[in-house]
């Protein structure tokens, strides 16, 4: 990894669990440029010619392979905009590990806007993991505005894990999914904000095909003076099922709004939403303290579990 310094490596480990160059296909983007890339027999990564970004093409039937596409921002004042497209061939089964880490050393804002388009073709399975993370003690904000659009064709399955670990000052995430016949989607979102951070997340899932199903599970923790807003929406256009679940722990002076919406445009659409915001239950703290944990250790343990 000669192009990567210690900060880069730390970020790669945090956002993509990478200790070394991963197996399979990968593309590492640093400060607005692709710096290392590897395609495999079944997964091709091609840089776009008309705009920044890559096309990731997974051959039909490719199984058990992975693609790592982390992004590192270590320069201050950088505004990075990238368009990535993913074509998951019919019957393929892949893991995609994305993630963006910003180390902002200066006082100017650093910002990464990733626009991701996915097509999960007939009968394909995709697991997508995206972690967002910021660090740096200076005044420069770390801003991440991801936009994700997913189409899941007949019998396809997608699992998306969207995690904002810490240190992101400002985020607006926008996720759209369209599900066709017998397609399934699971979105789990985990978010922690503290300080004066602001986070907004919109997820809209359209269940177009018969027997499609979706689950959106959002868990978040708001600390200090941070603010969060969630708008998960499930729209049923056919015989389908959807479950939207938003669960938030609120602490200190944080503010959290959760506005789940379910809309049925078909008599056989079964849509459910649940939303809850509350403090850590006193009983949980007490229980852990009766095992010898201090109050703050107990709090940490509860939050860690909740956001797992």
């Amino acid at each position: 990894m000669k192009l990567l310094n210690a900060i880069d490596k730390h970020i790669l480990q945090t956002v993509a669990g990478m200790h070394d160059m991963p197996q399979g296909a990968y593309n590492i983007r640093k400060n607005g440029e692709g710096i290392i890339r590897n395609s495999t027999a079944n997964i091709e990564i091609i840089p776009k010619t008309d705009k920044p970004g890559i096309d990731v093409i997974v051959k039909p039937g490719a199984r058990g392979e992975s693609v790592h596409i982390p992004v590192i921002l270590t320069a201050e004042g950088l505004e990075d905009m990238v368009y990535n497209s993913f074509d998951i061939g019919a019957g393929a089964d892949v893991l995609i590990v994305a993630g963006c880490g910003i180390h902002n050393p200066g006082d100017k804002n650093s910002r990464h806007d990733g626009i991701h388009n996915f097509i999960v073709r007939k009968g394909a399975r995709m697991r997508y993991v995206e972690k967002h993370y910021g660090e740096g003690d200076s005044h420069g904000k770390k801003i991440l505005n991801p936009k994700t659009v997913v189409e899941i064709e007949e019998d396809g399955y997608a699992e998306m894990e969207l995690v904002q670990i810490s240190g992101v000052d400002d985020t607006k995430r926008d996720t759209e999914a369209r599900l066709y016949k017998n397609a399934h989607l699971l979105v789990t979102e985990r978010m922690l904000t503290d300080g004066d951070q602001y986070a907004e997340s919109k997820i809209i899932v359209e269940l177009l095909g018969r027997d499609s199903s979706a689950r959106i599970i959002s868990r978040s923790v708001g600390r200090d003076n941070s603010r969060q807003i969630f708008y998960p929406v499930a729209v049923g256009m056919n015989r389908c099922r959807a479950h939207v679940q938003c669960d938030a722990i609120i602490m200190h002076q944080a503010q959290i709004r959760s506005i789940p919406e379910i809309a049925a445009n078909h008599a056989d659409a079964q849509l459910v939403h649940e939303a809850a915001i509350g403090k850590i239950a006193g009983e949980q703290l007490t229980k852990l303290m009766t095992m010898g944990l201090s109050e703050s250790e107990a709090e940490e343990t509860i939050l860690r579990g909740f956001l797992k």
């Binding site: 868990r219 669960d247 239950a281 009983e283 949980q284 007490t286 229980k287 852990l288 303290m289 009766t290 095992m291 010898g292 944990l293 201090s294 109050e295 343990t301 509860i302 860690r304 579990g305 909740f306 956001l307 797992k308």
Partner: protein
Amino acid sequence: MLEIKNLSLTLEGDKGPVEILKDINLVLEDHMFYVFTGPNGGGKSSLAKVIMGIYQATTGSIVLDGVDITELGVTERARLGIGYAFQQPPRFKGLTVGELLQLAAGKGKQVKEYNLLLDVGLCPQDYIDREVDFSLSGGELKRIEIASLLARKLKLAIYDEPEAGIDLWSFSRLTETFQKINEKFDTTMILISHQERILSIADEIILIADGRIVEKGKRANIWPLIMEEVSCINCDECTEGTDEVAECYR
């Protein structure tokens, strides 16, 4: 040894202060197996919580092995070797049974999760990685709660109605487990229970009703009291109980 002197507990209720415990005096010796029993609402769990530090005593003192712990908080008492298994244990999203037991045993300590789960009649493979959340049944949660106390080396262990919600087969296994620990260690054991079987294995029975200790003594002396005379000690004033209510004759 635990000594409780002139202890009272007053809590703020919806309609003002309520005196929950009154003039409690109690000495509990090492290696002994005690049962707290008595009618619902009598104050058993409250006394356990005062000992654990979950409630702070309003008056009086609590001394553990010569150290006054009256002013100490829950964490400090836990670190001194007091443990309490909740009557209604809380659930935790995202925390697995294995992790909970590890936390109970202490950071970096080796924990024999497998044996602990077997001791409470749960199949380790099936439970170790499950989350302690709403997917567990009431009885399963209760057993895990018990295991979380068994995981620790304690001076004083309080189990609040450990048998509640536990099926008969596991229950007999559980009583064996309690007896085994009692033989092996110096731990002072307190079981809060309404179960005849548990009362019958105790060294001493402490009868608590109406916020007071009504009787304390060897099983042989207290047992007849419970069975015959005592029934419910508030029978005279009680407007709800009648001769037909079995509860009144626990």
